[in-house]
Symmetry: C2
Subunit: 675 residues, 2 copies
């Protein structure tokens, strides 16, 4: 059969189904159906869709459309991502507003009625209504639908509760893996478990179906596992012909590699092909990457859907029919090798770009937002943000505002202007001098009044600095108030957020923070990558990449020039390595003293210098936790982040001693505490 033709036709069908091509779907269906008939037994449509979380009507309509398409082309099976009717993650909403769970059941039942010869696997939130209830109120479930009916229910056993995941808050782990009878819908309990035929036979092929985390607990693959149970191992006992896993798994640095290795290992280990369908699209901080895929029984990648795009992928894992898209570069490397800190970000930058782009697009589109405004300082952070926004929202929807103060250099202003010109975004310059002067004048009165009463004065040098940052944010929020659907952008990066080097109600303030999980050293590499890989080359003026970052809010007394951030903090290469060692290797102060930093291979630093920087790091980090907690939504990019919903540390933990105490000191401190 003509595989190439099938791919062409299904790409056209994708465009029609996504509304990107205004053609009647019936012009392509007969030929696709004809081609599918050649490998009908075991044919699967992977519906890699982008839902809107909580918008049950929108999601259900889309699911119905794809079921009806799959039926028309006569596939055996069409599979949707985890919680496809509800969208993932729905979080505490299902507890506070249980009406939406009732609703998703009503829609599920109606969808079931409209199915016929093609079997659909659809995700939904299942309430637990049986008597003598113990446990959480819901299951995370899949329904097997065909011939106008629900044929079976599969419930998630392993519930992730780390990083951004919170499944266990409201979801009860299933006491059994695999499929259970349809009449258990909303009434399932341990007593109703049927312990045979937990696989699903569809047109003569036996499928072992699981949900997301259920396939992430292989005890041979992982050196340590979180759960006792391995649902895939249990399903394997019924010797299915094919594994299917319906997921909603967000993108993170290094995860693509891990996922590839793990799924390949599972299929090879059990000698069973593996079909993995993943949600695409972003929800607040999580950007789901799709990249659904199929492995054959030797663990060889047979087919892979696009990353960060909706796609309907037609495959037959038994006949090895599918479509291979280029893999993420670096997939051939082992994970162990990747665990070394490196400033060579090349493999990772394309995925970073797509993760953030989708994060911006979906936050805006799904919330009815359209435009963004941001301050253009001529510095790296706002520059990279501007490029990402232009690409995500369209250059016409981005407004760059240069807001020079008396400290802003001529070069910064012209760099900002040049960038805006190169990107083709809207641009204007509005000086903040008058506003800063007025505020300063009023501050003089106010401060002398407070000084008298409190009989003290702190005179932090950055009071004046912050007025500038806050005046700028005031302009941007003004634009947001005056022009519909326009969001001001917070431009802080990860390295500076770690150091609290960001102004509350200033550059930290906005409706969205695109690069809050991107460290500064990566931003330099990212800027160069953008210059090489976007259609319009070199949009970012070289001068912006070459200059040493600084907020241009204050003058360095020693140089008479604007203060350079690295002088106030520490070298970014050192700072980013500290962050990396904490986040990826769980290192602490003493570990780092003893480790040889990449930075130390190229720079000679004394032990005292290293200690000074580490002391400064921990001190600044301890008092920055509050700022992390009020950061606007951002996109999680790295393997670990400081996003408040991904990582949670009490603000009131500022006294933690990250260095530890010697045993002798512990003894004498305790002895002195005795009465």
């Amino acid at each position: 059969m003509d595989i190439k033709r099938l791919y062409e036709l299904s790409e056209t069908a994708d465009k029609i189904l996504q509304g990107k091509l205004n053609t009647d779907i019936n012009t392509v269906i007969p030929e696709i159906k004809e081609l599918v008939s050649n490998f009908k037994q075991g044919s699967i449509g992977i519906a890699q869709l982008n839902p809107i979380v909580g918008d049950i009507e929108y999601n259900s309509k889309k699911i119905m459309k794809y079921i009806s398409y799959a039926t028309k082309i006569d596939l055996d099976l069409v599979v949707f991502p985890e919680l496809s009717i509800m969208g993932y993650p729905i979080e505490d909403t299902i507890d506070r507003h249980p009406i939406i769970v009732e609703e998703n059941i009503r829609w599920l039942k109606e969808i079931a009625k409209l199915t016929s010869t093609t079997t659909a696997v659809v995700g939904f939130v299942e309430p637990r209504f049986y008597k003598n209830k113990t446990g959480k109120k819901y299951y995370n479930s899949l329904a097997i639908l065909s011939d106008g009916k629900i044929q079976g229910i599969i419930r998630k056993s392993l519930l992730p509760n780390y990083s951004e995941f919170n499944d266990y808050r409201y979801i009860e782990p299933s006491p059994v893996v695999g499929s259970q009878p349809a009449d258990t819908l909303t009434m399932f309990d341990e007593d109703s478990i049927i312990d045979s035929n937990k696989t699903n036979i569809i047109n003569g092929i036996k499928y072992g179906i699981s949900i997301c985390e259920d396939c992430w607990n292989n005890k041979s693959f992982f050196s340590s596992t979180i759960y006792d149970k391995d649902p895939i191992e249990e399903l394997s006992k019924e010797k299915p012909n094919v594994f299917i896993n319906c997921s909603a798994s967000p993108s993170r640095a290094k995860k693509e590699q891990l996922k590839h290795n793990m799924l390949s290992f599972i299929s090879e280990n059990y000698k069973i092909p593996f079909v993995y369908v993943n949600q695409v699209g972003a929800v607040d901080n999580s950007s789901f990457d799709g990249s659904s895929r199929v492995f054959n029984r030797e663990g060889v990648l047979l087919a892979r859907a696009k990353s960060f795009e909706e796609q309907f992928l037609i495959v037959n894992p038994l006949q090895e029919i599918g479509k291979i898209y280029p893999l993420t570069k670096g997939l051939e490397k082992s994970l162990t090798e990747e665990k070394v800190f490196s400033l060579d970000y090349e493999n990772d930058l394309e995925r970073t770009y797509k993760t953030i782009l989708q994060g911006i697009q979906d936050y805006f589109n799904k919330n009815g937002l359209k435009r963004a405004c941001l301050g253009l300082s001529g510095g790296l952070d706002s520059t990279v943000c501007a490029v990402l926004l232009a690409d995500a929202l369209g250059k016409e929807n981005v407004f760059g505002v240069s807001m020079p103060s008396k400290i802003t250099s001529k070069e910064s202003r012209s760099d900002a202007e040049q960038l805006a010109k190169n990107l083709g975004i809207n641009y204007t310059e509005i000086p903040i001098k008058e506003m800063v002067d007025t505020t300063n004048k009023m501050f003089d009165n106010l401060f002398s009044e407070v000084e008298t009463k409190w009989n003290c004065r702190y005179k932090k040098s950055f009071t004046q600095d912050n007025i500038q940052a806050r005046s700028r944010a005031m302009y941007l929020w003004g634009i947001s108030n005056e022009f519909a659907s326009c969001v001001p952008i917070a431009t802080s990066d990860k390295s500076e957020l770690y150091m609290g080097y960001a102004t509350i109600n200033g550059d930290m303030s906005g409706g969205f923070a695109p690069i809050a999980d991107v460290p500064k050293t990566k931003l330099f590499a990212f800027a160069r990558w953008l210059n090489s890989n976007r259609t319009e080359k070199n949009a970012i003026p070289e001068a912006i990449i070459l200059k040493r970052p600084g907020a241009e809010l204050a003058i360095d007394e020693r140089t008479g020039k604007p203060l350079i951030a690295e002088d106030a903090l520490m070298p970014y290469e050192f700072l980013d390595e500290v962050i990396w060692r904490i986040e990826n290797k769980h290192e602490y102060y003493q570990d780092m003293i003893e480790s040889k930093f990449l930075y130390e291979k190229t720079h000679t630093i004394t032990k005292e210098q290293k200690e000074e920087w580490l002391n400064k790091f921990y001190k600044r980090m301890s008092t920055s936790l509050y700022k992390w907690s009020i950061l606007p939504p951002s996109v999680i990019v790295e393997s670990r982040s400081i996003n408040k919903y991904d990582y949670r540390q009490p603000i009131t933990s500022s006294h933690i001693n990250y260095k530890g105490t010697s045993s002798d000191d512990i003894k004498s401190i305790l002895l002195s505490a005795k009465l």
Copy 2:
């Protein structure tokens, strides 16, 4: 024996141990010891302490001091709250910075060495180091210490993961209840379980010891339970003489009643006295109330420690020796009765006051903060905040700033000034006119530029309003930058946050938000309660309580007077009841249409009016989720809150249909989606 004398002496000892009285503890010890000797067998010291989360040295020193005190007065046992060495909740910190877990083990071992005849029960985070590890990395454990050694380890079985609790993220549930041998420390697994003697015999008395949530799963008391296992039931099988539970349980409206009923039920049901020791003090959003207590075998409350204060309570549950403090008013009411919405807040207001006061005090003290500044508008929100701050931090540490704009009435200014005078806090007035005018002028230029390029203009009426709120916040943050340890206060209340009726970088901005979980109707009652119950009566001018709230940011075109909030939103009594019905009864749109509101008993409203308000409510709430996510730390007060760590709903869920869709509509929508 002279119980009254024991109480007097132990109150004195408390003051000495807390550093409030500069007397040698040895002046009271001999007499206390003599009195204790009368009921030595079964004597327990409940060390209701306020730890600093993560400050292991501080916590360990305090624990050591109290162990040594308990030993000197020759008690059988001294019990500390859950995770007493680490402080609760330590959250993800133990995963990101595992050094602190190693540290808490090192301190624990040294404390153990210094114990002698009195047994101490101390909480700590226990790493799981055994081979072939499955599960989370830590246990939440108690160590039984005496004679210079660890005698046994008790591990938490039930791990709460709802509301503000996140135990299950990093803690493994114990596979066994009760005490296991000391040599299992950090090396415990299922194979090492010893299934007998899980109670602890100390001086001839048998204790069944558990941790917090382990006592919250009684299947006769609760109509539905979260967990299968009931650790108390399992412990009861060894027929202990006394139950002990070490907790860290934060305060919430109605929880005091629930806790009393539950513990009383357990002790009566098993005919075993119950000793409950609870942490006191606040960590960020959670205010732990202490209120440790003892029930006798009939379920009668025998002793109760103070709420929101450190205390060392000497009891003997077998000889019914202890100290009863006044109970929270309303304890006699059943929970069922409390589930009716009511504007009668009387029983609850004292606890609200103490919860918030401790929340402010501990956030400030534990983070090295000292002073607060806030805008005084003459309105209810800022007024109540000012009173709470004056009481929490001392009036000399509070700065109230009146920042009138052209809309601010003369009455508002004089009310604000009078309030400051009554409270004795620092006060100044600084007009914002010049700053607002400058900003407005600059906005004109900026907006006409943007208007030209985007060829549209929104002209939201509140652009001008927001300039005022943001100018004010700029002054307050300026004070914070210029004067050490000074925090600006966000004054938003719960009702208005639900409606998004708060300005980002304006009144919503600050380092702490004291009343973010207090609804407006309660604030009115609270203001009157404060006027009656504080030492200085009637500090809040009556005019402030009587006026109808409004932000005084805009003029109502219909009246020519400042816009009244209820006119822009809906009556607060109605709004607060909607919030209450959603949070406490899980009601949705249609339920509320069909319910008779308290508001409807006193006001005649049409169905159309009710629908209009409900529509407005859901619409405004859906687009306010973003604001909730960037709110500063606040104190959780009500039975449910919108605190971002207590309740989490994706911002990108703005399309949820809270009304539901009819079955006929579902059918026709799905049919139209079919190809």
